[in-house]
Symmetry: C2
């Protein structure tokens, strides 16, 4: 019934959607009917109530994470995924140092958008499989937790995502929104903070489609009485300078140590300040100042050390990342062939090149190489001289390094006039007026 109704462009009743998902999650319904329903949704859309019903049904397919009273306001941050996007590694300890608790349950990365827990696992000893009790204790004491999502939480989402991946039904705002928000609704915090990426390095290719996704996500939160805020941020070029798991941890440490200004630091600071302001009522100016101070005075970096120690990782990494993190045997410079102003840095191409090196995975469950990756120092608007070293490839083999360097050069466009720098954040949305 729901399949035919959606096929015909009708609105499907919430109980019908809930039954469909429950039967699929329980094994009573096969891949065929669910895939047909998903394709009908891709082509016919879903309204806010249908999207909420799908989201709730996915939440109801498993257990939820009840955090209880942690003595701190709890924020759950989610990025829709980008290239050189180590924001979570900076954001979580930063907001912890500001008196909030950040509880982040994360999946592993797929494709060129690496997963936060993949990055953290580059730190020797780091554990991502935590019980709810461990998470609760750590959130209360340290103020931040980044753990792998339990298979008991929203299992229907994992099943449906795998089916969507195999059936060309990924590209749908309501389906993406339901998948994102089911994972957020399953964790009971005080604020859902979404970083919705827009650009060639993200699934949403432009500001308009990213805004549509953020709007759909916020509609779900609003209907469920959950507070949520979303930033639409730029992913037309890589956010930070490093793509690769250990490399991104090292970059995050540099940012937390206040020695790496730039777009990655700015975005983490703005997300943290907004979270503080929403959850504590601090003025935007005060919140912004507090966030910058936490980088300057070392408390944010110390919180990252506490997070790493609490999850079994080697905390010396925050003082000497190079000594503790795995390093790739081959390092070659990326040399600019042309001089001029950087007009484009194709984030998708950079991400793909890093995946080819082994930093990402093409299929679920595949191993990744924590040491390899790409460091690229230039951004749109920078001026570069021909022959200048603009970055570095970290690779297992010289052949792979040479190929990656060539791929990075192809990802760059130069112009004779300085190009306009894209904004860092296109805009903000929230479930309530600011």
């Amino acid at each position: 019934v729901p399949i035919a109704a959606k096929r015909d462009g009708q609105t499907v009743d919430a109980p019908d959607i809930e039954r469909l998902v429950a039967e699929y999650a329980g094994g009573a319904l096969g891949d065929g009917p669910m895939a047909a329903f998903l394709m009908a949704v891709v082509l016919q859309g879903m309204d806010a109530r249908e999207t909420l019903a799908l989201t709730r049904a996915m939440v109801d397919s498993g257990s939820t994470v009840a955090l209880g009273d942690l003595g701190r306001p709890v924020v759950d941050k989610h990025s829709t995924g980008g290239v050189a996007d180590a924001v979570s590694l900076v954001y979580a300890p930063l907001v912890a140092s500001l008196g909030l608790a950040c509880v982040k349950l994360s999946g592993r990365g797929l494709g060129y958008t690496g997963g936060t827990i993949d990055k953290l696992e580059a730190i020797p000893g780091f554990r991502v499989d935590l019980s709810v009790e461990q998470m609760r204790r750590q959130a209360s004491q340290v103020g931040c937790v980044i753990a792998a999502q339990s298979p008991d939480v929203v299992p229907a989402d994992g099943m449906i995502y795998a089916l969507r991946d195999a059936t060309a039904t990924v590209a749908s705002v309501p389906l993406i929104a339901a998948s994102v928000m089911a994972k957020k609704l399953a964790v009971h915090g005080d604020l859902i903070l979404l970083d919705v990426k827009a650009g060639t390095g993200a699934f949403m290719r432009d500001e308009a489609s990213a805004t549509a996704l953020a709007t759909a996500c916020l509609a779900i939160a609003r209907q469920q009485g959950r507070r949520a805020t979303a930033a639409i941020s730029d992913m037309s070029q890589p956010l930070g300078t490093s793509v690769g798991n250990a490399l991104e941890v090292a970059e995050a440490i540099d940012v937390l140590a206040d020695r790496r200004p730039g777009r990655l630091a700015d975005l983490a600071l703005q997300l943290a300040a907004r979270s503080l302001s929403v959850l504590t009522g601090a003025t935007p100016t005060d919140a912004d100042e507090a966030a910058h101070r936490a980088l300057r005075d070392g408390t944010a970096l110390a919180a990252f050390g506490d997070l790493i120690r609490a999850q079994g990782g080697d905390p010396r990494v925050i003082d000497d990342a190079a000594a503790i993190l795995p390093a790739a045997p081959v390092r070659i410079p990326i040399v600019a062939e042309h001089g001029g102003f950087v007009a484009r840095v194709d984030a998708e191409a950079i991400g793909t090149a890093a995946t080819v090196l082994g930093a990402g995975r093409h299929r679920k469950g595949a191993p990744i190489d924590p040491a390899v990756g790409i460091v690229l120092g230039v951004r749109v608007g920078d001026e570069v001289a021909a022959g200048e070293a603009i970055g570095e490839i970290h690779s297992r083999t010289p052949e792979a390094a040479t190929a990656a360097a060539a791929a990075v050069r192809t990802a760059l466009l130069f112009a004779s006039e300085p190009a306009e720098t894209p904004p860092l954040i296109y805009g903000w949305l929230a479930t309530e007026a600011a």
Copy 2:
């Protein structure tokens, strides 16, 4: 690749469609991707080349039936299915008596549109599982064969049809056309004769959609260099007077014995005359006269006897159907509650009532009761007196009979003025100019 292309409304290359079907038929591709593709086809359509590619891929999934030279022109007749549609039982021996060979491979019925082989199996001893060699010999000697389709022929069609049934993807002209024509292309005859039904008792609810289906079928035949002719015939009311397997055999015998004039006889005669004219070059007038003569002089009825004898059935049925065919224990009259002119006989409602009695099956493989059914003598335009017996229920139990009689009465609408009689045939289409 083909799934995403079809989702986006693009034309899919033939090799991609062929690979999709081959992988699905071979088990390498699961239900999910195929169901997503089918839903994308339902919503985005397929052009003639894509439909041909799908049809050919289904034919290539199994073996084909090479009839060779039978010494007679071979016609393969197919009806898209209707209520009280025993045309094949009349048509096959009728064209055999005219010097043609009719080779019909048929599936079992599903829902209220009964299958021809289900009907024939009401005759004691009748066998429908024949080897290709048996079919060839019988077609040559008797001139007609009606056998069950072998599971080796177009197996992908059966798999895809079952998936469509479970995924709300049945309603698609290109998918229906490919399913019909794959079965026709797998048999190598000289003419494909299609009887495409239009009306409430058929899948295609009106003349326009039936014409669209016929057009799509003929496009496939034309591209494959096969000769085909299609009649768009009315199914706004039941065609014959009997719905139910033994009852329809008895009615077909009455028609073949030239003692039951009416719409069933007229349609069988017109289809037979058209086949003769196309295959032998006889003028329409001569062909029509020959077909009527074959009923009058008993040769068509004799050919039916030969068919039954050749396939193991009791040939005495053509002389004394009541003695040979199974009979239901309960028979009650259907009495008109109202007087007036019959304005509507809802074919779907009549078919559904017969299915409830046990004459049809709701799911594949379910048993059917050959004896039960409905006889209804009135047609749109007839005048009926209140209290008049207008038909008879043949049932296992009195309760089921009473319910069926009530359902039939609900299926009838009366008016104070005579309604216009719907045409028997809306029109003809052919792969070549007549």
